[in-house]
């Protein structure tokens, strides 16, 4: 295993394009090596000024999201064996650059705070009783590790960043809506503030999801249907008018 892998890594700080460049490093290949192993090799042996965000190194925390050969990936889960020749590692483009491979994914945190929170229905019986079957729908969306690769892949965000909250946050809202004890409704929020209409269901988000969550199929489409049912259904519309008049 004396083969070397050539890494081409983006370097630069903040919004200062004069610092932007690509550095090339040759890293000895090892069996089962992932991109993050190679980055660590660079840091401890070749160039300690290289900066990369990582944490669990087990695909559980979603910290090491970058673009590898132009596609969003987690560095800890991407085997170097998948690639022939040079491997290019760059920061996610949809988030503000801090330095090298590190971006500021907290930029969209206000969105998380704006989603109407989980609000339990009023029930008298405690502790709550509900069944395993009621859990599964929301459970899938709760696998999310908030790596934000879906936000990075989403072209609706690239074109309408100010208006569309993006797949991660639609999935979050849906995970509340599908909670068996939730008594709230996030359709109004998703339509009026979330910009859900901007998603045109190309499923880029679910393709890049490292947790294999069917974000479009199981969160975005059901939420879109709900918005249509509740907001554009003529019967519901008339019912609401009448109710208001009373």
């Amino acid at each position: 295993m004396s083969k070397a892998v050539r890494l081409r890594v983006f370097r630069g700080t903040g919004n200062d394009p004069t610092t932007f460049r690509y550095d090339t490093f040759d890293v000895p290949a090892e069996e089962g090596m992932v991109v993050l192993n190679a980055i660590h090799y660079v840091q401890s042996r070749l160039d300690s000024s290289l900066t990369a965000r990582w944490n669990c190194k087990a695909g559980r925390c979603g910290s090491c999201a970058v673009e590898i050969n132009g596609t969003p990936h987690l560095m800890c889960k991407t085997s170097l064996g998948m690639y022939d020749g040079e491997v290019t590692v760059e920061p996610m483009k949809a988030f503000p650059l801090i330095r090298d491979l590190v971006t500021d994914t907290t930029a969209s945190r206000d969105t998380a705070g704006a989603i109407p929170p989980f609000t339990p229905r009023s029930v008298s019986k405690r502790p709550w009783l509900f069944y395993q079957g009621d859990v599964e729908r929301s459970r899938e969306l709760r696998k999310c590790i908030e790596c934000f690769l879906c936000q990075d892949a989403c072209h609706a965000i690239r074109e309408h960043a100010a208006d569309y909250i993006g797949p991660r946050w639609v999935a979050k809202a849906a995970s509340f809506d599908m909670h068996p004890m939730d008594g709230s409704n996030r359709s109004k929020f998703l339509r009026e503030e979330g910009g859900l209409e901007y998603c045109n269901v190309t499923k880029c988000c679910q393709e890049v999801c490292p947790e294999h969550i069917a974000i479009t199929d199981d969160a975005i489409i059901p939420e879109k249907e709900r918005v249509v049912d509740e907001h554009y259904d003529p019967l519901v519309w008339i019912y609401r008018k009448l109710k208001k008049r009373r």
Binding site: G32, Q43, C56, K57, C61, W128, L129, V135, S138, P180
Partner: protein
């Protein structure tokens, strides 16, 4: 995907010799945003204290997300015989009588409320056929006791608490490394803390009345560990330097089952839930070896027992082809495995190319948890320094010489809440203390040193060196001779660490932040090794080849580490005796 790039942060960096700082104010500063930190924040904020949470990476990434198995709480939903008394007994007896009875009592009683509270905050637990919270068996718990969310319990716990923090609009600052806790020179009480805003590279002074340390453990000081980047023992180092006591530092838990192959994933956790769901351990000749070590509880024996058993099989030449042992869950069938252990299924498939429904896993022990940490008062989580509190893995006393699986998630909820409440109450009456200008000045000089070094040590390489010394001399089985050698080498590395070099500017400079973490790691390693040298017996996670037996007559004591002059000193403190009505629970343990 080219052409598009989100607007970056203003790239104006802080000069490498800039000694200015920004000041932030709060009643209660919480360092760490894992389960303990967030639960503390909720309670402190609800009690009316202005609360600020800082964390060294990002909110939601704390090591808590890695917890898989569940939360231990005696709900008795599956086994009606369970009660807080049995949970208390299990915790103390399996902690080899080193744990604090009062902390274990609080845990066993309050974990039940915390689980139901978490459910009402929105966590979606697995259910029984009758719609109650489901509970699974786990090592050395007498009854099926772990409330769980598939094998992603920690992730759900963090998200749920995160949502509660958002709901209360509690401020959280990410990417902040806290480097020191300051005390008022006149009163000796906590008056603030100092840190680095990693993103900008600027310094931060926190003026606060109370500090809660919820920074987790120190697993990264070992070469093979399930712990994440953040677990560098910062909390213990902060508290020690502020004059607080550390306790039980020699008690490092080796989780029996970590991945061993391929090399890149060595140490990655294989949840105990695999054994809880029926996984069997076998050696090279196919023998189910736990029959020799604990025929009654087999694979579900206490973690220290299982880890030592696997270790024995390995060193006595009965290991698997990659030098570990086999863990076999195939008998459960593919559907069951994918449903109950979905993360394990995909972890082996994606990282090792192994389908655990068809093939055996290969596993070996991996460093998992620090039972020791900051010495705290059981009811309030107060350290020995007024105004300084600690909760979760950073604190000590609950788990004794061996932690039961599922007790750490219970710990962070129960004691996170208590720490938040106690700190808020303390802050209500405490006067704001004074931060001495020389404290900030000295601290900035200490922190900026790596920028003045040219051609010095690489901090990433130094961290690796620390980890290999710990692995070599302070592992599962220790000896007086090895420990002495380990201490000598560690002190030599500490001398080298004065020469660590930070390369580049101050904006998100990892070589700088990792240098500071390396200093913390060295301090914690010294405390671990000195404590391990002192404890001349084998108990729980601490096994001495030169003192192979548990010696209750001499060693029913906690080893306390404290600053002594300019060096580090160890003292012994007898383990507190429980009241007679509880003592009767522990008979035979």
């Amino acid at each position: 995907m080219s052409g598009f790039r989100s607007k970056g942060h203003p790239g104006k960096g802080v000069a490498t010799d800039d000694a200015s700082y920004e000041t932030m104010t709060a009643d209660v500063l919480i360092v760490g945003s894992g389960g303990a930190g967030l639960r503390a924040a909720i309670e402190s904020s609800d009690a009316g204290a202005s609360t600020l949470v800082v964390c060294k990476t990002l909110l939601g990434k704390a090591h808590t997300v890695m917890a898989e198995g569940g939360i231990a709480a005696a709900l008795g939903n599956v086994d009606p015989g369970d009660s807080w008394q049995v949970h208390l007994r299990d915790t103390i007896v399996e902690g080899q009588r080193l744990g604090n009875w009062r902390m274990a009592e609080i845990l066993a009683k309050e974990a039940i409320d915390r689980v139901y509270e978490l459910e009402e905050y929105g966590a979606l637990f697995d259910r029984t056929a009758y719609g109650k919270i489901m509970q699974r068996p786990f090592g050395a718990h007498t009854y099926r006791r772990l409330c769980y969310i598939g094998d992603r319990t920690g992730l759900e716990l963090i998200r749920t608490l995160q949502d509660q923090v958002f709901k209360r609009k509690i401020p959280v600052m990410d990417d902040v490394e806290v480097t020191s806790v300051f005390k008022d020179p006149a009163t000796g009480r906590v008056s603030g803390a100092f840190g680095i805003n990693i993103r900008t590279g600027g310094f931060l002074l926190f003026r606060c009345k109370a500090v809660i340390i919820a920074t987790g453990g120190c697993g990264r000081v070992y070469e093979v560990t399930s712990n994440s980047y953040e677990s560098t023992g910062d909390g213990a180092a902060l508290a020690y330097r502020a004059g607080a006591d550390l306790m039980d530092m020699e008690m490092i838990q080796f989780h029996p089952t970590g991945m061993i192959s391929p090399a890149g994933v060595r140490g990655m956790l294989v949840t105990e839930a695999v054994r809880g769901e029926g996984g069997m351990l076998t050696n090279a000749s196919g023998e189910r070896f736990m029959e020799k070590y604990d025929p009654k509880r087999m694979e579900l024996s206490a973690r220290d027992v299982v880890a030592r058993s696997i270790y024995t099989e390995m060193v006595e030449g009965r290991g698997s082809s990659n030098g570990g042992v086999y863990l076999d869950i195939r008998g459960r069938g593919a559907d069951y495995i994918k449903k109950k252990l979905p993360s394990m299924y995909s972890q082996f498939l994606e990282f090792a190319g192994i389908d655990i429904t068809k093939d055996r896993m290969e596993v070996a022990p991996t460093v998992h948890y620090q039972m020791g940490g900051i010495r705290v008062e059981p009811d309030s989580c107060r350290s020995t320094v007024p105004g300084l509190f600690a909760a979760g893995e950073a604190a000590s006393g609950l788990h004794g010489a061996n932690r039961l699986g599922g007790n750490s998630l219970a710990d962070i909820l129960v004691f996170g809440r208590r720490a938040g409440l106690a700190a808020a109450e303390y802050a209500r009456t405490a006067q704001p203390g004074r931060v001495a200008e020389y404290d900030a000045g000295d601290e900035m000089a200490r922190l900026l040193a790596p920028f003045k070094v040219k051609g010095g040590q690489n901090p990433f390489a130094l961290k690796e060196k620390i980890a290999s010394v710990m692995w070599k001399y302070v592992g599962i089985v220790r000896s007086g001779e090895g420990l002495a050698k380990g201490l000598e080498e560690m002190l030599a590395i500490a001398a080298e660490s004065k020469n660590l070099e930070a390369k580049g500017g101050r904006t998100y400079n990892q070589s700088w932040v990792d240098s500071i973490q390396a200093w913390n790691m060295l301090l914690v390693c010294e405390a671990i090794i000195r404590s391990a040298i002192e404890r001349k017996e084998s108990r729980g996670a601490h096994t001495r080849s030169d003192y192979p037996d548990r010696d209750d007559a001499h060693w029913t004591v906690n080893v306390i580490v404290r600053r002594k002059g300019r060096g580090m000193g160890c003292e012994f403190m007898p383990v507190q005796k429980p009241p007679p009505e509880l003592e009767s629970l522990f008979r035979g343990g």
